[in-house]
Amino acid sequence: MLVVAAVLAGMVWSRLAYWQVVQHGRLAMQAQAQYREFVQLPALRGAIFDRNLKQLVVNTTVYSAFVSPDQVAAGDRDRVATGLSSVLGVDKAKVMTTLASNTKFAYIQRRFAKTKADQLRPLKLPGVGLQEETQRSYLPGIATGSTLAANVLGFVDWNGDGKYGVEQNYQQALGGTPGFISSYRDLANREIVLGTHTHQDPINGQDLVLSLDANIQYAAEQALADGVKRDNAESGSVLIMDPNTGGIVAWADYPSYNANDFNHTDPALFKDNIVGSVYEPGSVMKVVTLSGAITAGAITPDTVINDPGVLSVGGYRIYDWDRRNHGNVDYTYVLAHSLNVGAMKAMQAEGHPAFYSNLQAFGLTKPSGIDVADENCLLPPAADKMSDSQYATASFGQGIDVNMVQMLAAINVVANGGKYAPPHVVERVGTHINPVLLQPQRQAISPQTAAKMTAMMQQVVQHGSGWTSRIKGFELDQAGKTGTSQIPVNGQYTQDVWASFVGFLPAQHPKFTMLVVIRKPHYPGADRDWTLNDGYMTAEPIWKTIAQSLVVDWHITPDPH
């Protein structure tokens, strides 16, 4: 008997322990939910400004119309449906169907402008309500279907989360911290005024000041769109950098999208080709290769080599772009005429370890770390894992993948006196300067090497493939390099190319460094002569147009001679 009583008591106690100890948290929360009301106070999202404090994004209020069908009498349905369709332009039959349904709540239309809300309010339609929401509004771009700098800024979705670009990368700083009001309610759901209240104000998001220049951004987007259309290309991108700081001045993609209408945009357009895609840079890489060889003391700009137009490496015969025997040429000529054999010989002269170290010094073996979301990069294999032929092709920019930010930052080393300026888009977060700007810049190559390479790149513009980029008045003050590389598909190179041009001016005191990449151009007549798709025909004219805008807008003058 005693045992039975003990067992029963044990069962009761264990059940009590289960509810009071194990389930305590859940039950306490359920109880709190019945008498406690928690209202979230949203934080105001920070604004984004360009380098001249021109506002690029504005928070605006939009409205969503909803209906509670159970509160609309059958006799009022037609009036309600007519009112909603006349103001919002929605299908009246669909609204009637919604009103006849048993649902308690349904959105009629989401996120429309205040003007429509002002028209709807006086109608006093029964069962219809308006819900206020905050929306990010971006500046108009070059066409009605695009907004300015959409790819670098990204957008904010309907949940208030930043997607892509700066909006995603700086979500925490921009979004701020929401506040709340917590109070007690009685059985009739009335607030108990004298009860315990907890109130915390929201902390609004911080404003961002970018290194972007809205005017240059617009000029870049316009010139790029015109160029891509003219070249019958698949797409194109432009990236402009301040050589001294690494701040991005313009970041343009074509095609782009309308960030104000992201929910009706093909998601494929959200992917940014500048930082989200990699490409083989082609001959632009020769700037890196030859700089490394000069630093290593393996060559000088005047070193003469024999270029028969072909070189056998690792069992492969690798040709110059024109397959011609160029005879004895110096390295200034090699760069000006973009000779692959010369680049390979320079790499061989300095040796594989030094070449690889040079890639590291120019930041091509790791992500650029730019403060824009979703950076994509394909890092080269370890130095001892690369074959001879891989080293050979990498010396002239094939078989090595980089993103545009990495490549521009690497070339900018030459423009910046041999120092690597970390690329970035945001200069200030609230009142704080981006820490990247306060760190000393890493010396990648010596200032002397940078000066020699600058002189060689000037020769590219004056006597080589950079001639179509010449700007009147700056002919002696431009430095540049073209690049054209075939696009591999399933391990095989195709006739489609990435055509690019990188350059800076004035050569001795650069004010900007710019990289233009055009993907799969089909220049008129290129079906007969594929070299018409080359960087000098496709990317360079775009570079020139944008550079002219920069010269005018920034009042850039040539260096004295």
């Binding site: 009147k472 002219q548 004295p560």
Partner: protein, 171 residues
């Protein structure tokens, strides 16, 4: 009921302290009711009427107060709604203002006005600075005023207390 301590605060202490007496104070309603009943010579029903009247007055007062609070809350709600609408309008105007300064709109306006961007055909070339800013400063120019004039000026300054003789002689 509230109890009140009677009269020692601030008073001069007596030599022989009297024993303190506590008196139960009567409320205002009780006093007023008793006085009114005494003067009006009310019977029991009279008392009841007065009581009910007092309750009705209190109820009316409560209702008036509640109505005022309700009205105030309506006003607050209306003003909050108005404020939200004004903020929304301000946001809209802000966006319009920012859009008007956007490069796309500026170019559109310029094109409508018949303006177009012209690429300069030539630039003013920079020239080397003619002045060497690194040269050290030379000696200051010698004072050419005759000695006798300086002596006179010193005397005049000392006597007259003026210091503009030298300046005056130059004009």
């Amino acid at each position: 009921m509230a109890r009140r301590r009677l009269g020692t605060a601030g008073a001069t202490p007596h030599v022989t302290a009297q024993p303190r007496r506590r008196r139960r104070t009567r409320g205002f309603v009780q006093v007023a009711g008793a006085v009114a009943a005494e003067r009006l010579r009310l019977n029991m029903f009279g008392h009841a009427y007065v009581g009910v009247g007092a309750v009705v007055i209190a109820l009316l007062f409560y209702l008036a107060l509640a109505a005022q609070i309700t009205q105030a809350s309506y006003d607050m709600s209306r003003l909050q709604d108005q404020q939200r609408q004004l903020i929304a309008e301000q946001d809209q105007l802000r966006y319009q203002e920012v859009t008007m300064h956007a490069p796309a709109m500026v170019q559109q306006q310029a094109a409508q006005s018949g303006m177009q961007r012209v690429v300069p055909s030539s630039y003013v070339a920079g020239s080397a600075v003619a002045i060497d800013l690194t040269t050290p400063l030379g000696a200051s120019p010698a004072d050419a005023t005759p000695l006798w004039m300086r002596a006179v000026a010193t005397v005049v300054n000392a006597v007259g207390g003026t210091r503009d003789v030298m300046a005056a002689t130059k004009h």
